[in-house]
């Protein structure tokens, strides 16, 4: 066995797996209730399918358009392009398009339904405030989102949640068109059950998707550190971004709040919301993990209890 220079994170993998399994179980239960109640699941499938397709096909363009992002060519931004080129080559990814947002808020995001159609966008505020190695770490974070296909994963994960919300909102409509045939005494009981199920599914999946989104962020942080080989640069970039974020007036921030799930850092001031509701982990947690990676790279793991088994001993395996 060769020495690995990076450590694993079994805990993160396990948590992500558990979250996804729970989400899957909730969705299955939801479908079972719909089926039992005989509520137009054909309508549900058609409406859901269309929602998913639209989201999948157009979300990237929608996000970029709403931010006012402009794709830039290598001649316009030679430095940024060259940086992205090398990182993409290291990560073994086809070159994503690069877009720039004329905004003072330092932030970055990756979008696109596949690795080939991916777009990495950075704001002017980001390129101006960060040093090249920090900027590189942020780009690597976004590239990891592309590599992990996070847009696709989150879109699929939120699919039935969106359907549940839709059923809840347009309940009368669904019942009318679905035709509850075959359920003689279903009536009000089935109605209530479906409504309650939709509400519960939407509520529980809301938290599960937020948790999943946070785990994907940790994963992207790890990936960035592995690509650049410098966790501390990402930590420094996050500190700089968050420091500036808090000084930006609220009005500007609210305009971009809807895009939070795609950003490297949410456009809400830290500490103002509970982490449970957030798509991003807190700064302290992200910094702590990056610091641990840096320690592992030096071959000094101080608390082997934190991650388990083979991964903790990774750097020591001869």
């Amino acid at each position: 066995m060769r020495t690995r220079w990076y450590g694993g994170d079994t805990g993160l993998t396990v948590r992500m797996f558990v979250t996804m399994s729970l989400l899957f179980a909730i969705y299955l239960a939801f479908l079972a209730v719909l089926f039992w109640a005989g509520v137009g699941y054909i309508t549900v499938a058609v409406v859901g399918g269309i929602l998913l397709l639209v989201q999948y096909l157009y979300s990237d363009r929608l996000v970029l358009w709403s931010l006012g992002a402009r794709t830039v060519s290598p001649t316009e931004e030679p430095g940024l392009h060259a940086m992205l080129d090398r990182l993409a080559a290291l990560a073994d990814l086809p070159k994503p398009r690069l877009a720039v947002v004329d905004s003072e808020i330092p932030n970055a995001l990756a979008t696109g339904r596949s690795q080939r159609s991916a777009v990495v966008a950075v704001t002017r505020g980001l390129t101006e405030r960060l040093d090249p190695p920090e900027l590189e770490a942020v780009l690597a974070h976004e590239l990891t989102h592309v590599k992990n296909r996070d847009v696709m994963v989150i879109t699929i994960a939120s699919f039935l949640s969106t359907v549940a919300f839709f059923v809840m909102r347009n309940f009368a409509f669904m019942g009318f068109y679905g035709g509850r045939r075959g359920r003689d005494q279903g009536g009000a009981g089935a109605f209530a059950a479906v409504y309650l199920a939709s509400l519960l599914v939407w509520l529980i999946s809301f938290f599960l998707i937020k948790a999943l989104s946070r785990y994907r962020e940790y994963a992207a942080d790890r990936g960035a550190a592995i690509i650049t080989g410098a966790p501390s640069q990402l930590a420094s970039a996050l500190l700089k971004i968050s420091g500036t974020m808090q000084r930006i007036p609220q009005r500007d921030l609210r305009e971009v709040e809807g895009m939070n799930a795609f950003f490297i850092f949410p456009a809400i001031s830290a500490g103002s919301v509970m982490e449970l509701f957030s798509t991003h982990p807190s700064l302290e947690h992200r910094l702590a993990r990056l610091e641990r990676m840096q320690r592992e790279m030096e071959g000094r793991i101080e608390d082997p209890g934190h991650s388990s088994g083979a991964d903790a001993s990774g750097p020591f395996a001869a």
Partner: protein, 189 residues
């Protein structure tokens, strides 16, 4: 495993492939005889260091190995860090096979120390008349692609690159996806 990695968001460093590097040795004859290219007399290997004392130790070892190799063959070996934070080991020699074997030695040393995934590319400089043309070996993909800087700074001569790739398709493993033909501007080669 790929799907599971995507689902669980695991990043694994992409291992490097050294197996096809020597293909340029055999292709050299065609490159010079049929395509009219001449060896530019230099080559370089580009890798991304990691922020760790263990990697610095490797750097010292590498210096020692290269010093011995350089004294044996008379090739001029230099190291440099470019403006993107990547490290280069460059070799200058009139003997093309010498260039290839030194590049391989550097790659192998990194791989043996467990830093193989840090290798980005090896670059071989050729001259097409007066203008430089590079054959780039991608360690991640295990194949080659041409990189021909055009007249203006930041411009590539795509027509020439496509022509070279088409001509060498049989003798070299050439990267088929042109979106992976990453340029390496300002390479110290």
């Amino acid at each position: 495993m790929r799907i599971l990695d995507i689902l669980l968001g695991r990043t694994r460093p992409v291992p490097s492939r050294l197996d096809s590097l020597f293909a340029i040795s055999t292709a050299y004859l065609t490159l010079t005889a049929d395509l009219g290219l001449a060896s530019g007399g230099s080559a370089g290997v580009c890798f991304r260091p990691i922020d760790s004392a263990r990697f610095e130790a490797l750097g010292a070892d590498l210096q020692g190995i290269l010093k011995i190799s350089g004294e044996e063959t008379g090739a001029a070996i230099r190291t440099a860090t470019d403006s993107y934070g990547f490290q280069w080991v460059t070799v200058e020699s009139s003997d093309f096979q010498e260039l290839v074997s030194t590049i391989h030695l550097v790659s192998l040393t990194l791989e043996e120390r467990g830093f193989g995934d840090r290798l980005l590319a090896a670059v071989f400089r050729f001259l097409d008349g007066e203008r430089p043309v590079y054959w780039v070996y991608s360690y991640k993909r295990g194949n080659f692609y041409p990189f021909a800087p055009g007249g203006a700074p930041g411009q590539r001569d795509n027509a020439r690159e496509l022509r070279l790739a088409a001509a060498m398709g049989r003798e070299l493993p050439v990267e088929r996806e042109i979106e992976r033909w990453y340029p390496l501007w300002g390479a110290p080669v």
